[in-house]
């Protein structure tokens, strides 16, 4: 404005605005870092879950032919001869006990030879990026080093992957055992933590009076919510696995083989994770119950309802959608937990599906951990495939949680 004023204040507005625009860009870029990281993570997983594989027979089927006749034209007797010649006696005995070789059809014997003798194996695998961009190079390399091998595009995530049990060879491995383990375990966790958690929340919100004891209880729950999950694993190890071994191993109920039974069972794992999610469920349920307007309670009391009647018939239904959503979220957190379960003793190699809550077990995240830790490249592929399964599972659970909550709250509103 005036000359005097211009000397006193030099607002440099244009420069300040430029600096402002620059910093806005910085803030925006910071936000994009998160998005980029997420994209990189998903792309890495996808990259490792699909790709070319080089397959080769351990024993070429062509070499198993006789007198000029190829393998598929051999007689059952000749096929049986091949099997007995090539397979170990132990394996033969097991096959015989499942179904005698003499009773198997030619087709069955042929398949057996292909599976057990010829053995098509993955000798090399490539990521999706490599498969798409370096196809020619891969082909050449294969021509030079493994001329007998077949090149095929493979999705490591497949139906077979979902339903196969664990195996020591990556291409045969599946996640069924792990999925079942996760499922059994989470059922225990929910069965224990949900009623206890909601019950404790009801007590704190509806019954407890404002005194020192209640405050200690509340602070305690908040503290527990912040304890690292591995500490819960240590707790589980000391209490459930060791101290309560008779209970968790099934010895108390005479279940299981006393020679191998110990506390490292699904039950221990489920209880450990129940302790972990309990504070989360309590806090979430408390918030849900707190959100129910007082007027609802008063109307119930005014009609002569008792406290529990009010809670059971009015407060809980009103808060149920949020309680449910919170529980599902806590559960999906539990499904992804690995550290406490390693401490509690998820098995490193479990081939059989769990038969009871006293079984040894493995879970999906544990499987991912173990496969990722192996150096061979193919284990990376199955680890990635398992990650996809886990992420899809979590996505499904969270979506279900949101949909369920919307549906319940809509039902309540439209009554």
């Amino acid at each position: 404005m005036s000359q005097a004023e211009a000397k006193v204040f030099q607002p440099h507005i244009e420069r300040r605005q430029k600096v402002g625009a620059l910093w806005k860009l910085v803030f925006l870029l910071a936000t994009l870092v998160g998005i980029v990281a997420l994209a990189a993570l998903l792309l890495t997983v996808i990259n490792d879950s699909f790709g070319l594989v080089a397959l080769q027979f351990e024993v070429a089927p062509a070499s198993l032919g006789r007198d000029g006749r190829p393998l598929e034209r051999l007689e059952p007797k000749e096929l049986r001869e091949i099997l007995t010649a090539r397979l170990s006696s132990g394996l033969i005995r097991r096959l015989e006990s499942e179904q005698p070789l003499a009773e198997r059809s030619r087709q069955q014997l042929y398949e057996l030879v292909m599976e057990r003798v010829a053995r098509l194996q993955v000798i090399e695998s490539w990521s999706l990026g490599e498969s798409l961009l370096k196809r020619g190079q891969i082909r050449n390399w294969l021509q030079q080093n493994h001329p007998q091998a077949l090149l095929k595009f493979r999705s490591w995530v497949s139906w077979r992957f979902l339903v196969q049990p664990q195996a020591s060879v990556p291409e045969k491995a599946g996640v069924l055992t792990a999925l079942l383990g996760s499922l059994w375990m989470i059922l225990i966790t929910v069965a224990v933590a949900f009623p206890l958690g909601v019950g404790a929340a009801i007590y704190l919100e509806e019954y407890a009076r404002e005194n020192l004891f209640t405050r200690i209880l509340q602070v305690n729950i908040y503290n527990l919510a912040g304890v690292p999950s591995i500490i819960y694993g240590i707790l589980g190890l000391a209490v459930f696995v060791r101290l309560l071994e008779r209970l968790t191993s099934g010895a108390l109920f005479r279940i299981g083989d006393p020679a191998t039974a110990n506390g490292r069972t699904i039950l221990s794992a489920g209880l450990t994770l129940a302790a972990l999610v309990l504070p989360l469920i309590i806090i979430n349920s408390q918030e849900a119950i707190r959100a129910v307007p007082q007027s609802l309670r008063y109307s119930s009391y005014a009609l002569g309802g008792t406290k529990w009647q009010t809670i059971w018939h009015h407060v809980l239904p009103a808060s149920f959608d949020r309680i449910l959503t919170g529980t599902i979220l806590a559960v999906s957190r539990a499904i992804g937990e690995t550290a406490p379960l390693v401490v509690v003793g998820a098995s490193t190699f479990v081939t059989q599906h769990p038969t009871s809550i006293f079984s040894k077990f493995t879970t999906l995240p544990i499987q991912i951990y173990q496969w990722t830790a192996r150096p061979q490249a193919e284990f990376r592929n199955v680890a990635a495939a398992a990650i996809i399964v886990l992420l899809v599972l979590l996505l499904a659970m969270n979506t279900a949680a949101i949909l369920l909550r919307d549906r319940i709250s809509r039902q309540r509103r439209e009554g």
Binding site: M1, K7, F9, H12, Q17
Partner: protein, 274 residues
């Protein structure tokens, strides 16, 4: 009801727009929309330099909206659109080439509820000056602003204390001092004393009269006695049936309160509604 009316100039505020030097700020055909809602329409006001102009009217008539349009504070609310002109010393502040940041330095604002920063008293006043590139002695500026706001004697020993420890009235005077520190030439006040007790209110009113010597002051108030006591000119706004605010009458305070031209004005000041 007896109103003490301030003796003001005889000439009408709307006379001769020839000398824009007479007017610190004017609105021409001002219309403001919040999203689809037409908040105020066709506001034509001219604010004389070094005078106090009051904007009165029933609640919801758009007084604050008009006030905030004078320093482009309305734009902070998303979805606001302003058409028409606001001429500051002849220049339209809504011209796309004008940076609102610059407008707000020259046209300061004091809010209804005192909002000092959670910083020390000294820092509250120094901050605005500093970001605007003040070249002089900050301590001198702080003292000068506090004196001009009639607050210096009360706080001179505790400049480093948090501003939040002051009383409501003191905080409001601090906000005025903060505003003065950046040396605006117009000060907009949005019901500055409505949250204060009568004694604090009186202090603020005395301060405003004193400040009018050096600044142009526009004040929004719902308190008619206040308007008649301290302002030189008064604008009366009302809402129509569509809840859009419009200007009913604008005259010197003496004329508006003693001999209102419009019947609606008369009804309002005699308390028949509002």
């Amino acid at each position: 009801m007896q109103l003490t009316v301030k003796r003001a100039e005889q000439d009408s505020p709307l006379s001769a727009d020839a000398l824009s030097g007479e007017y610190a700020i004017q609105t021409r055909g001002l219309n403001i929309h919040y999203g689809g809602f037409h908040a105020v329409k066709d506001i034509e006001l001219s604010f004389r330099k070094n005078r106090i102009t009051a904007i009165i009217g029933p609640s919801g008539c758009g007084k604050s909206t008009v006030l905030r349009s004078l320093n482009r504070m309305n734009e902070l609310m998303p979805g606001t659109s302003t058409t028409g002109q606001v001429l500051y010393h002849g220049q339209n502040i809504y011209d796309p080439k004008v940076d609102p940041v610059e407008v707000r330095r020259r046209i300061g604002m004091v809010f209804q509820k005192a909002n000092p920063f959670p910083k020390s008293i000294h820092e509250n006043i120094a901050w605005g000056a500093r970001i605007n590139g003040f070249r002089g002695d900050l301590d001198e500026l702080v003292e000068g602003s506090l004196r001009a706001a009639a607050l210096w004697d009360e706080v001179k020993d505790k400049l480093s204390q948090s501003a939040l420890r002051l009383s409501g009235g003191q905080q409001q005077r601090l906000c005025i001092a903060r505003c003065l520190a950046i040396q605006p030439d117009i000060i907009l006040m949005d019901e500055p004393a409505s949250a204060l007790d009568p004694i604090a209110t009186l202090k603020i009113e005395e301060l405003m009269t004193e400040l009018a010597r050096r600044y142009t002051i526009v004040i929004v108030t719902h308190n008619m006695q206040q308007a008649s006591r301290i302002s030189d000119f008064t604008a009366f706004l009302m809402v129509d049936k569509g809840r859009t605010g419009f200007l009913v009458e604008f005259a010197s305070t003496e004329q508006l309160f003693v001999k209102p031209q419009d019947k609606r004005t008369e009804d309002y000041i005699s308390g028949r509604f509002g």
